[in-house]
Amino acid sequence: MVDGAEELEPVAIPIAAVQGEVWRRLRANPGAIVGLVIVLLYVAAALLASALAPYDPAEGDVLARLQAPSAQHLLGTDELGRDILSRLAYGARISLTIQAAAVVLALAIGVAWGLVAGYFGGWVDDLSMRLIDVQLAFPSILLAIAIVAVLGGGLPNVIAAVGIASVPQFARLVRGVVLELRKVEYVAAARALGESDLSVMVRYVLPGTLAPVIVLGSLRMATVLLAASGLNFLGLGVQPPSPEWGAMLSNARDYMFAAPHVTTAPGLAITLVAIGFNLLGDGLRDALDPRMRG
């Protein structure tokens, strides 16, 4: 649950030149394939939740409360007699929504920020890096707590909280790549030919940041899932009876000594999905650029 595990070397790679090569390297890496399979299963579960779930996730059966896993309820039932498997499937939907929205938010702000800071340099760069320093002084969960304290709980605010907390990572990474790219000849040539700054940034610099941003994006999907489910566990985000996995665990605390299975399934789901995105991210890093290999 510790954030910031992904310190990436800022290396620019021309992605279009190596697409086939990347796929070949990714396929040759068993870890990456396991990660990819987990991620695909997770996305499928989220998309097909209504078809896959054997029961209504909100409908409880009072006569079947806290039942251990059985043929009727593969993962057992919770304190209200709701089917845990069905809740997990619908929970995947909520988690994936949070992850995708938060990472896109962080990516959009962070990439623009890093691009501008790295491209213009000078006082623009100094100022943006000091702002990042300030943001990094607040550990991400704390920042998220502050944002929830200001905006209140609920799904959109959880997305905003974990998304904004991820901005510095993207900004720093992109800035590093851009500093490297500024020295590259084709960028210097485009500037010398009198292209506008915006055009040089978008047409020549931005594509070079794509590969490292994809890698960081995949790794952040894991971090964001852990952070968001943590907030929901603390009761600051999505509230029960929502089948969000963190919220499910928060509920399960009161019954876990009587029925341990209620804590196993949601926790295992979070861990597996995080492992999937971490494996995929590591695999992508190795495939996109062997130089970045840790």
């Binding site: 300030v134 804590t263 494996l279």
Partner: protein, 308 residues
Amino acid sequence: MLRYTLRRLVLFVPVLVGVSLVSFGLLHLIPGDPATILAGVESRPEELQAVRHEFGLDLPLPVQYGRYVARALQGDLGISVHTREPVAATVVGRMRFSALLTVLSLTLAVVIGVSAGVLAALRHNSWLDSVIMLLALIGVSLPSFWLGLLLLLVFAGMLHVLPAGGSGGAQHLVLPVVVLGLAGAPVIARLTRAAMLEVLGQDYIRTLRAHGLPEVVVVCRHGLRNALNPVITVVGLQFGLLLAGAVIVETVFALPGIGRLMITAVFARDYPVIQGGMMLIAVAVVLVNLATDLTYAWVNPRIRGERA
């Protein structure tokens, strides 16, 4: 070294100003009238006026900020709207506990992380290396609140050897420290392994081995000492991350730390406590990062000239 230290200290000031602006601004970012937020929606007009006066909300914003900083510098972070106690005393008292928890966990994380990383590097590409890296992967993917619940289930629920929560003796700290320590160890292990692999591949190590130095001396005195340089930076960063992780762990184990105080304050809408807690945690993180940078420069003279 003195010049480097001074330069770092100068850079430290704008970050502190930023931190104070953020925690000051928190109350004013909330939609609505700050006085109503502090006093509650059902307050009568004269009560609101009193709160406005008490918290200086009737003054212009820059003046309010100036007062906030001036008071903070004197150790006055205002009064909790909930308990009516001074915020500074409360947050500092709770911070003591969280700092203890964090330092103990960080120690455990470093011990596990460094030894696992060194072992993996020494047995590079062996099954041991793979197992350690797999555990590191699971470690970074494991939500600490779930690990906490599982350990509670086993050690408090089934084996009855450790308390299920609360504070008091050392036995109350065992599980929280294990959970946080395991959360911090994987990153340190990965980095130690990478740094160690790089150092062990260098020419001088080969020369030392060729000279017939015992492997223990080569690895510990010459290898590890150089490999630990980058690890110092990451340990500093981990302090902030583990302090943040403490927020969750303190909730799972019902511990009286600053994290649980903040969560309670969010639910109680006790904004002075949230502001004070944020400020104190941020200042602690910045100070530890500063100390880390200085230590890094001290053991690594090359850095002093380059990095500002």
